[in-house]
């Protein structure tokens, strides 16, 4: 078929057919999601803006004694890396927290709202497959927004460092070392890996939310919470066991375990703790459960697309 197309169509038309390939359609679908769910990018931007504003205010209105300020020259390279990682994670945590909350609501809403306002009849009047639509929505939640927030966090941290640097210079202590490019890059690299790991680990939960979103007719949030709440209860009442509960806990918090970050979560970590220098990324990315989860996510996404294909509740 491609051969006939190429021989028949003029060169002018050749790029046009390329323009409507799956990749470009996916990109268009993704932009559509960001038009509709503006909270996905506005919320993190607002948080970043507030954080930078607070930083400026703090620098302008407080006068810490720079004689006691931290000088990076006191530390070893390892310790500097750990310090940058700790600072980076602390600074970016409000951004990611807000982003993942918005992502949660987005995932619940994304295949439900279009049926509720009947706009699905418009989207389905266009030559876009359900699989591609579902894929676009998933990729927005699991790839585009987390990576966008990651970049935003990096920019925010650079802004913080710049302000601090300026403050230190203007404050009459230019000899203080406040910046270590290598440590910063290492911290950012680890954070990127953690963002990717998070998306992979939580992919089945994302896909589960999308499946519910594609399936429910009403009481969306009731249906989102009911199965994970009832299943362990029923199991316990019936068999007096708690495998489902353990499994759910593992899928929710196991990421810290596979990445070797439990100490961080348990609150035992401090600035130069080895946990910041050495998350177990190699082990985490080769974890079987991680990839089994990704497979489960693919199956759930496929089910969501099938449901969207024939769900017939727009009369």
């Amino acid at each position: 078929m491609n051969a006939t197309l190429e021989t028949e169509s003029s060169p002018v038309h050749a790029p046009a057919s390329h323009r409507f390939g799956p990749a470009n359609t996916l990109l268009m679908l993704g932009r559509r999601e960001l038009w509709e769910h503006r909270g996905l990018w506005i919320a993190p931007l607002v948080v970043a803006g507030v954080m930078i504003a607070m930083c400026i205010v703090a620098i302008l209105y407080t006068h810490p004694d720079l004689r006691g300020a931290v000088d990076l020259n006191w530390f070893t390279a390892d310790q500097r890396a750990a310090a940058f990682t700790a600072a980076g994670w602390t600074l970016s945590s409000p951004l990611f927290l807000v982003a993942y909350i918005v992502i949660f609501f987005y995932l619940c809403d994304c295949l439900y709202a279009e049926r509720k306002d009947r706009s699905i009849l418009f989207w389905k009047s266009l030559p876009v497959s359900d699989e591609l639509t579902v894929a676009a929505k998933f990729l927005i939640a699991a790839v585009a927004v987390p990576l966008g927030v990651y970049v935003l966090a990096a920019v925010t941290s650079l802004a913080f460092v710049s302000f601090w640097n300026l403050f230190v210079t203007l404050g009459g202590a230019p000899q203080l070392r406040v910046w270590d490019g290598a440590a910063w890059l290492l911290a950012e690299w680890q954070q990127l890996l953690l963002v990717i790991l998070t998306s992979l680990w939580y992919a089945p939960i994302y896909a589960y939310l999308m499946l519910i979103s594609a399936w429910v007719r009403r009481s969306l949030y009731l249906w989102v919470t009911l199965p994970p709440a009832l299943a362990p209860l029923i199991e316990w009442l019936t068999f007096r066991t708690h495998y489902v509960w353990d499994f759910l806990l593992y899928r929710c918090f196991g990421i810290w375990h596979i990445a070797g970050l439990e100490q961080l979560v348990n609150g035992h970590a401090h600035g130069a703790h080895p946990v910041f220098r050495n998350p177990h990324f190699a082990a985490a990315f080769s974890n079987v459960d991680l990839w089994l989860g990704v497979l489960a996510a693919l199956a759930l996404l496929y089910a969501a697309a099938r449901i969207r294909r024939y769900r017939d509740d727009t009369t």
């Binding site: 990109l27 706009s119 009849l121 009047s125 876009v128 017939d312």
Partner: protein, 286 residues
């Protein structure tokens, strides 16, 4: 002529209800077909089956494709517009154009923009800010700009005022319709659009009550209006439906010529609306 839609034994159930009970019909290319029936007759089920929006039983091809397995290919050639208000409220006019341009290979943005320029719709408006009539204009602009072979309209002017309705159908006929294109339309306002149709399909309780071209209707049906004294004689010729109109009786005949009825009163070709009412009541009577 080529068949755009070919349905054989098309059936669709919702639980125990048979929305479509094994209907067969054909839509030929270059026609404007009115799918007419009371509420719950199966119109929307038939359209949804044609558009691949719902599973069904029976054989159905649309433009030679199976709507079940080849929906994505089909939607390149088919356009459809469910009743107004399916454009999401958050969408901006410019975004609507950009999105359709981004996913539909047959969409010509300049055509849509040109049509919108003739309306009061602004590019930066959101759908939620537009009146119902303007939303329909916007949707129509998108559809006119898609070079599709088959257009399906489900109550496209429901809830619009007369001016918008008239404009809608004028635009459809003048700017869109041609011999390569086919339109399938359901509407409640039969009187208003009956000059538009080349063919009608009456559907009732999941069955096809009548399927014919407008020319065939003229050949097959005669409406005779008689005064009270001529009514008994006319009744002997077995009209299938009659009703009182200003003290006279309008009778509807099938298979009689105007020539044999003319001596009894005034004859004419019944309007589609009258015929529809007549057929629907005829069906419900034993």
């Amino acid at each position: 002529m080529t068949a755009v839609v070919e349905a054989r034994g098309l059936a669709k159930s919702y639980g125990p209800t048979r929305a479509l009970d094994g209907v067969s019909f054909t839509v030929e290319q270059g026609r404007i077909v009115g799918l007419i029936g009371p509420n719950g007759a199966g119109k929307t089920s038939a359209l949804k089956a044609i558009l691949g929006l719902t599973p069904f039983e029976g054989a159905l091809t649309v433009l030679g494709l199976d709507p079940r397995s080849q929906r994505d290919a089909l939607m390149q050639e088919v356009c459809f517009m469910a009743d107004v208000a399916v454009l999401p409220r958050w969408l901006r006019v410019a975004q609507a154009l950009e999105f359709v341009a981004g996913v539909h290979p047959r969409f010509d943005r300049t055509v849509a923009a040109g049509f919108l320029a003739r309306t009061d719709i602004r590019m930066d408006s959101r759908v939620g800010q537009l009146s119902k009539g303007m939303v329909t204009q916007l949707h129509l602009a998108l559809i006119l700009a898609i070079d599709a072979r088959f257009l399906v309209l489900d109550e496209p002017t429901l809830g619009l005022d007369l001016l918008y309705r008239r404009q809608f159908y004028d635009t459809l006929l003048n700017d869109y319709f041609n011999k390569e294109r086919t339109i399938l339309l359901t509407t409640h306002q039969v009187e208003e659009v009956e000059q538009l149709f080349t063919d009608v399909i009456f559907i009732n309780r999941g069955h096809i009550a009548l399927s014919a071209s407008v020319e065939e209707l003229g050949e097959r049906y005669v409406q005779l209006t008689v005064s009270a004294d001529a009514a008994p004689r006319a009744r002997e010729l077995k009209p299938f439906y009659e009703r009182e109109v200003f003290g006279r009786t309008a009778m509807f005949f099938e298979g009689r010529t105007p020539g044999e009825l003319a001596p009894l009163g005034d004859t004419r070709t019944p309007s589609i609306a009258d015929l529809f009412v007549a057929r629907m009541q005829g069906v419900s009577q034993p």
